[in-house]
Amino acid sequence: MKIKIGLLTIILFSALFVISCDDFTEIDPPIQNGVSGSANFSRFVSIGNSITAGYQSGTIYESGQIYAYGNLIAKQVGVEFQAPYVSDPGLGGRMEVLSLSPFTLKNNSSSGSLLNSGYPAPYNNLGVPGALIYDVLFATNSTNCASAVFASTPNPYFDIILRNSVLNKGTQLQQALSLAPTFITLWIGNNDVLGYATSGAISPSSPTSATQFGQLFGGIAQGLSQYTSQTGAKVVVANIPNVSAIPFFTTVGPALATNPLIAWWQVALSQQASGLPATGLIYMSHEGGTNLGTLPYQVGFADSVSLRNTTTLVTLLGSSYAPLLGQQTGKYYRDNNLTIPLGVDTTKPFGFHPQNPFPDRYILDPNEITTANNAVTAYNSTIAGLTTNFNFGLVDMNTKFNQLRVADFTGGTVINGITFRTTYPTGGLFSLDAVHPSSQAHGIIANEFITVINAKYGAKIPLVDVAAIPGSIYFAGKIGYQNGYPIIPDNVFNHLLF
């Protein structure tokens, strides 16, 4: 009898066990093995600068790096993508929001640690913050990169990312090719003009020349072409956006022009009364300014219209001094330990009087904008020509960034219910450093790449859901506040690389 019960029980329970095991079907991801159309991402590498690295708000940190456009593309095609992750808050000095109203920034003084430095091969993400086009071909470490060779400023990111003391695999390009990649993205050259523009056309005093850019880009493209013709690997290149679409340049000028505390017409009247040839914000100018005859330097004039229309740009670094306009102050010279130049009288109204002009390094005047734009046009023409020659894919990032900027004036760019603008700091497209794209903007960039890849290679890679990417701005502890402009302490931008 007992045996019978036991047997029945065993039968019943084993029947249940069988039933319980078959409730799970396999679901296939949209892209399998990283192959779609003739695009094969099984070994995917991304070459570039800080944007490619996923650098945001002044540093690289994991919660931003994982949304770098290369990482996002890799996720869409379901392949592994190794990157030089640094635990939050990054390598130091991440910009964070101290207070929302008024908007105040603070550098986070903590540093994270390198999370993936032992990875035994070159990273798939070979974006190096600060890299110039020269570096892709020639830099192997912090001391032979362009900034070290030409400006005596070693860039430690080359050591952190290329790790040649261990790997000994060479430059960004060499490391990329050593991975025997099947797919390569290249986005380089932004810094060749940004360094010039962000320093108010001072250091360096000119963008990388069109000729030099052509030679360097040609070298890179040739190297890639040689590799792709042997292997059938695919290359997609993005071109360079204009600097005037970036909030680093477009924030402070319009804020000054529309500030109700500044009576621009009164300023203009008093400037006219003192016989000045033009009116508005008066800044020191090292090229293309007006020689007033009485001063040992030249000055430029930017009236409120040109500030609002961004035909003269005030960089975000100038934000610290914008609230001082009209005051009798030499704070700029004190803060930066500068000798007051001959002819400057800090008892004159700051920025409104030729003898106390707004600092040159915070202004990109119309001539300088033209220089920057011409450089970008020349770079992009080189990029377009060579990508056509070598049958690479071309992502017109310049047009995309310009579209995003133009849309600011018509309600913004709405993506899946979220409105994005280039405006700083609330627009959502740029991180707190005002130069580097936010995580969501990386989603937009990834989609530009994917759209080109799908069209050129007959691929069906799904677009990234930009709305599903979280924001990337962090808060710092809260303290008291003062009134006025975005409060950006002088040193917040000091360590910034582009």
Binding site: I5, F13, I19, S20, K75, N416, A467, G471, S472, I473
Partner: protein, 414 residues
């Protein structure tokens, strides 16, 4: 001695908190009923009749105490969000719903009973950083019902019953809330509330026209819970004045149930039963939370459940005077359209497979043990109304749920 036993059982029942299955209605009461697939309305021949069909009490003899405990181990997996196929598992939690029933026959016609049960409950915990973090992290609902019932058997073949349902419940919901599309950090919101007095009623009927045939029917009303509690929000201090917190009220109505079943003695030793249960799930249309502070926008999450049904089959085979074997099966129709599914309650069509054994160990003590396996049909949602971002991103993906339930009941007849 007896009173101490009762006290112990009551204590055990009360300390068992927060117990939920993969679903929101827990039809798990008494090992025998569970073992027979819940097709028990027409049988109701142990003190759990207080819940299943109190009209069955009139057919019992003497005074009976039933203590019943269940180990419920649900598991839900989510793969998504489409087109991704990343897998997320709800935290493995084990719940111990415990019930206590007492029945007493006053005379040939009248019987009374008292039950303490946990008829509704749910509990899911997802990782606090999973993609659905704005929809659900921890969701817990426990309801307790104390029900005195009376059964009247005017004629030999028929009895009817009526009972009062005194309910109390607590609810806890945690999830994250995005501050803005700009910021990496979220607000963490925790809502907690309880209702100590809610009520409803039930009624039952049992008809045994011939000794081998039994027909049962029951009705159990809605219970409307009005929760009062607090909302706590943790957010960066820059946002602290803007995030909702403070006293809240919320309303939740548990559905009405109508069940009708039939049981037949096919042979002297084999009883078969079948049952249809109708559940008024449309009562669960919105999960609304109102803030006392007018400055905060009230939360209203549409749930849009539909009325639903369960079909149950059970068998009891008497091996000998002491031992019986049981088996059962049920089909539980999904009460919500897939597009309205929220990950706090991963519903789907469910099938239950059960088996059990009972043994009259001593003259006065019977022990019943059973095992129930619940398999939810794999459900792929491809047009979800559940938005999991600040934009319009739909929470599409594939759910798989199962639950293992072990039950043990002790019936002590005085």
């Amino acid at each position: 001695m007896k009173s101490r036993l009762v006290l112990l059982l009551v204590l055990l029942t009360l300390i068992t908190t927060n117990l939920f299955a993969g679903g929101f209605q827990l039809n798990i009461r008494g090992a025998k009923a569970v073992a027979m697939g819940g097709a028990f309305t027409a049988i109701a021949d142990d003190p759990s009749a207080v819940y299943w069909n109190a009209a069955g009490l009139s057919f019992l003899k003497g005074t009976n105490i039933m203590f019943s405990t269940h180990l419920v181990a649900p598991q839900t997996k989510f793969r998504g969000v489409s087109p991704y196929v990343d897998q997320y598992r709800s935290e493995n939690r084990v719940f111990f719903p415990t019930h206590l029933f007492v029945s007493h026959t006053l005379n040939d016609k009248w019987a009374i009973g008292l039950g303490f049960t946990q008829p509704f409950g749910l509990g899911t915990t997802w990782d606090e950083n999973w993609p659905g973090k704005y929809l659900a992290i921890e969701t817990g609902l426990t309801t307790y019902v104390l029900s005195p019932v009376v059964s009247f058997r005017p004629i030999e073949t028929l009895s009817i019953s009526a009972g009062f349902l005194y309910g109390f419940a607590n609810v806890k919901i945690t999830r994250k809330s995005p501050l803005s599309s700009l910021f990496a950090e979220d607000a963490f919101v925790e809502l907690e509330g309880n209702d100590n007095f809610a009520y409803g009623f039930n009624a039952g009927l049992m008809f045994k026209p011939v000794p081998v045939l039994s027909i049962g029917a029951t009705y159990s009303s809605e219970i409307e819970y009005e929760f009062e509690g607090t909302a706590t929000t943790i957010a960066p201090s820059q946002f602290s004045s803007q995030v909702p917190s403070g006293n809240i009220t919320a309303t939740l109505t548990t559905p009405q149930n109508i069940a009708a079943g039939i049981a037949v003695d096919v042979t002297k030793d084999l009883k078969l039963s079948a049952e249809y249960q109708y559940i008024g799930w449309s009562s669960y249309d919105t999960l609304a939370v109102d803030f006392e502070n007018e400055a905060f926008i009230d939360i209203a999450s549409p749930r849009l459940y539909n009325n639903s049904y369960i079909i149950r089959f059970g068998a009891y085979y008497r091996l000998n005077e002491q031992v019986g074997l049981m088996g059962g099966f049920y089909f539980d129709n999904m009460p919500v359209d897939p597009e309205n599914l929220n990950p706090s309650l991963a519903d789907s069509d469910r099938m239950g497979f059960s088996a059990g054994i009972d043994a009259q160990l001593f003259e006065k003590l019977k022990i019943v043990g059973s095992y129930l396996f619940i398999s939810a049909e794999e459900l792929t949602v491809d047009n979800s109304n559940q938005i999991y971002t600040l934009g319009g991103s739909k929470f599409n993906g594939t759910y798989n749920s199962i639950a293992n339930i072990f039950s043990l009941s002790f019936i002590y007849s005085l």
